[in-house]
């Protein structure tokens, strides 16, 4: 009934897990199925940490799955001689495999604290560059007007088309008009939920010019999939001329003399 051949086959099935697992991660970048191009200053920290954990867990993955395969191969009842080892455990092994991972996990925890603090806690001392308001199913953007201040009558209103200057600190004030949304900039390694009733600061510094996606990453209703925005990262000159054009457009259609209208649109 017990065949050695079957034992070999089943062992190999379990060997296929680490082999194909590692292969999947190895070939994925060749098909461009990998971390998208990074264009933010803090991005390399995030990507580096991702790769560090990938290598660390990859080693543990290969070793544990490899042991599983080896034990199945070697201790197949149809093949191994004599009875099983009568053993209830090993105190020293338990100590080793408790302390060792505990040390590694604690190291990981401490190692990443500073990057987290940089990305989410050490806000640059500046007034917001732009206010982003999530709304079913669009991103409403509000730039300070010529006075450089948000919340004044000359504020500039734009939908879905975010422009920011390259190599400068950008501080976004994130709000939601209705339900939860999440402001996801894959190429800038930024994601932050927008919560009704809260103003949440988000900051980043882009390092390259280009056009990228703004994705809504928190379920916000039936049209969640199409809540798509666009971010254009451009040089300071290009940004200035773009915003100047927008100011002019707005001023030609909407006299600044009636401030109450502008404020109403904001909220």
């Amino acid at each position: 009934m017990r065949s050695r051949l079957l034992g070999i086959i089943w062992s190999l099935v379990f060997l296929a897990v680490p082999v194909l697992g590692v292969a999947t991660f190895a070939v994925a970048p060749a098909f461009d199925i990998w971390l998208p191009e990074n264009v933010s200053e803090h991005g390399p920290t995030v990507d580096g940490l991702f790769m560090f954990i990938l290598v660390l867990t990859g080693v543990v993955f290969v070793v544990t799955e490899g042991l599983l395969f080896w034990f199945l191969w070697k201790y197949d009842a149809a093949h191994a001689q004599g009875p099983a080892t009568y053993r209830h455990g090993s105190h020293s092994l338990e100590v080793v495999w408790t302390i060792l991972p505990a040390g590694v996990l604690l190291f990981l925890a401490i190692y990443q604290m500073n990057s987290w603090a940089d990305i989410k806690m050490r806000r640059p001392a500046m007034s917001p560059t732009v206010e982003v308001v999530g709304r079913q199913f669009e991103w409403r953007l509000r730039y300070p007007g010529r006075d450089g201040m948000l919340g004044t009558p000359d504020d500039l209103f734009i939908v879905n088309d975010l422009h920011v200057p390259v190599d400068e600190d950008i501080l976004v004030q994130l709000k939601s008009a209705d339900v939860l949304h999440s402001f996801f900039l894959p190429n800038l390694r930024i994601k932050q939920d927008a919560v009704p009733g809260m103003k949440i600061p988000v900051w980043f510094k882009a390092t390259q010019t280009g056009e990228f996606d703004i994705v809504c990453a928190e379920l916000c209703g039936w049209g969640h999939y199409k809540m798509k925005g666009h971010i254009t990262i451009e040089s300071r000159e290009d940004f200035d001329s773009w915003i100047e054009k927008k100011y002019a457009e707005q001023e030609s259609t909407q006299p600044v003399a009636e401030p109450s209208d502008a404020v109403a649109i904001a909220d």
Partner: protein, 606 residues
């Protein structure tokens, strides 16, 4: 008054001689035996059949989700008739409803009740040597409280606007404002009602399990002679009892927000889709805290029993004692304890104070430790064993193999800076499917193949069992492993169509491949269904102990009658005495007397 005196203290062996030999009780009538039964085994099987049926529903919902992800806006086979007016395409609101209900069904109507309800009920009294649960009526009610939930979730598909569609997490204000989404109407209310009923059922069960395990163990069955299955069920019951009231309270608060006009979760003046929420002053994040305070421990409720059952199956088919019994118990307790202080890792980017994120990150890193210890001990268990590749063993081994993947991928999410990028992408979808499907569901199949002989007195077909295992194993990895690299691109979950984004437009072929694998995975279950029902009636007769296992349940008849044991079980040792040197056979049951003298004494007592 009887003059018989009962000694107030006596040893386990004395007790065995005092208690009368138990006989199966007479059957009252069909209804009380098979429908409103108070027999824990019948209730366990009722849970098993109901949850397997919902498993099918959840699986078909998943296929419909996968269809849309792979080929958005193409004509849907079979389901297309529902969308005849739109030319056979799935609408985005229907898609939103599909993934909400897929998760809801799988979590609340399949995984939790199949582990605690089906296997907890069936196995606890048998494995501790009790004749039934401590509270049989409560036990019966725990099953029948599932039916209002079945009706509420089932009916919600047919009300105006359709079933709930704000995700299984039901985050306000999408879920609280009736105008926010079509499913936020009656569907969401029914969802909350269903959730509450599932909670009542779980609570009744957990009280019963704790009491039974503490008070009704057979003579000699000390806590540290309990099989891992029972330890896991016990700690799961404790988790349920402490975490569930929070979810129930939160559910009532959301129900009040929706129907009574309270404002626990909506801020002042919250306007959704031109509809103002009645009152304000609340906080959407409050729901997330309350929800995850239950739902994170619930993640362990959904895996610990499977871990316990897999430990028992691995030892039996490795013919070797469990490696590190006490560390295994302590690590389950450690997971349960730490499980209460890690809920914030679901909320790193929710707008919660980022400083709080750091504390949750540290506790989350530490909860990986007991899981690692368990994995190493499972490997230690098969090391030096004599492995028998039965279907149950293959499924149990795949649990270990897959749990390694699910456990390791969790570390990425625990690392807060990495979580910023992969949060709400397919990376997390890969992670929890490796834990819950490739882990728990594979563990459940292991348990079904293993305890089937005890349930029905017959064994399942091994050849078709292995075919079922092989196909499921291949297809599940094809479906879920690829999700990791999809997540690495940042591919977001819950999008009806993501290909219009520049970043994701090249991922459609990969998604199509995954959907084909998912179709293969669901189709393979036909083999299981046929094998299951065929073996129930025509499988080979099993006898009491077909696997030569040690547990108490294997000393009872297969299937056991009402009252379980036809003798008073007395426990002499732990459950993992396999391949003891000098013993005649390679297993020593918990009821086998320690030596010849004890054997004779026991025989004389009978």
């Amino acid at each position: 008054m009887s003059t018989t005196t009962i000694p107030s203290t006596h040893s386990a062996a004395d007790l065995a001689t005092l208690l009368p030999v138990r006989k199966p009780r007479p059957i009252a009538d069909f209804l009380s035996t098979y429908v409103f039964s108070k027999d824990h085994k019948v209730i366990g099987l009722q849970f098993l059949f109901s949850t397997l049926l919902w498993f099918l529903v959840g699986g078909l919902l998943a296929l419909a989700v996968r269809w849309q992800v792979a080929w958005p806006w193409s004509d849907v086979p079979v389901l297309g008739k529902l969308f005849a007016q739109q030319g056979g395409q799935m609408s985005p609101e229907f898609y939103t409803m599909l993934f909400t209900m897929h998760a809801t069904v799988m979590i609340f109507l399949v995984i939790i009740p199949i582990l605690a309800g089906a296997f907890g009920n069936f196995l606890i009294p048998l494995m501790i040597g009790a004749d039934d649960m401590a509270f049989p009526t409560l036990n019966m009610l725990s099953y029948w409280f599932m039916w209002p939930a079945f009706f509420a979730f089932g009916a919600s598909f047919f009300v105006e606007g359709g079933a709930a569609s704000s995700g299984w997490t039901s985050y306000p204000t999408l879920s609280t404002n009736v105008a926010a989404s079509p499913g936020s109407g009656m569907g969401q209310t029914l969802w909350l009602v269903g959730l509450t009923m599932v909670g009542v059922s779980s609570m009744l069960g957990s009280v019963n399990y704790m009491t039974t395990i503490i008070l009704m163990r057979a003579p000699g069955m000390t806590m540290f002679r309990l099989p891992m299955t029972i330890w896991a069920m016990f700690i799961t019951a404790v988790l349920q009892a402490f975490a569930l009231p929070v979810l129930t309270a939160a559910g009532f608060m959301q129900l009040a927000d929706r129907t009574l006009g309270t404002g626990f979760f909506s801020p002042e003046g919250n306007m959704v889709n031109n509809t103002l929420t009645a009152t304000g002053g609340g906080q959407p994040l409050l729901w997330q805290h309350l929800f995850w305070f239950y739902s994170h421990p619930a993640v362990y409720i959904m895996i610990l029993p499977a871990m316990g059952m897999v430990s028992d199956i691995l030892t039996c088919f490795a013919r070797k004692p469990l490696f590190g019994y006490r560390p295994m118990v302590y690590s389950i307790a450690g997971i349960a304890g730490l499980g209460f202080i890690v809920w914030g890792h679901h909320m790193f980017i929710s707008g919660m104070n980022p400083a709080l994120g750091i504390t949750f990150m540290v506790s989350t890193m530490m909860i990986a430790l007991p899981s690692a210890v368990k994995t190493f001990n499972w490997l230690g268990t098969i090391w030096g064993g004599r492995i028998q590749f039965t279907t149950a063993m293959l499924f149990a081994l795949s649990f270990v193999s897959m749990f390694i993947i699910g456990g390791l991928s969790g570390i990425f999410m625990a690392a807060t800076p990495v979580d910023i990028f992969i949060h709400d992408t397919y990376f997390i979808v890969a992670h929890f499917h490796y834990v819950l499907f490739a882990g728990t569901a594979m563990g459940v199949w292991a348990a079904i193949y293993f305890w089937f002989p005890k349930m029905f007195g017959r064994t399942m077909n091994e050849f078709w069992g292995k075919a079922h295992f092989f196909l499921t194993f291949i297809f599940l990895n094809g479906t879920f492993f690829t999700m990791h690299i999809l997540g690495a691109v940042g591919f977001p979950r819950r999008l009806a169509d993501a290909y219009h984004y520049e970043t994701f437009h090249h991922l459609q072929p990969l998604n199509a491949f995954m959907t084909w694998c998912a179709i293969g995975m669901v189709t393979s279950q036909i083999i299981f269904a046929v094998n299951f029902f065929w073996s129930m009636f025509f499988g080979p007769i099993a006898g009491r102990n077909p696997w030569h296992a040690n547990g108490l349940e294997w000393s009872a008849p297969s299937p056991p009658g009402h009252g379980n044991f036809d003798f008073q079980p007395v426990v002499y040792r732990g459950p993992y005495e396999y391949s003891v040197p000098g013993a005649e056979k390679d297993y020593l049951m918990q009821t086998d007397p320690p030596n010849a003298a004890a054997a004779m004494a026991a025989a004389a007592a009978h």
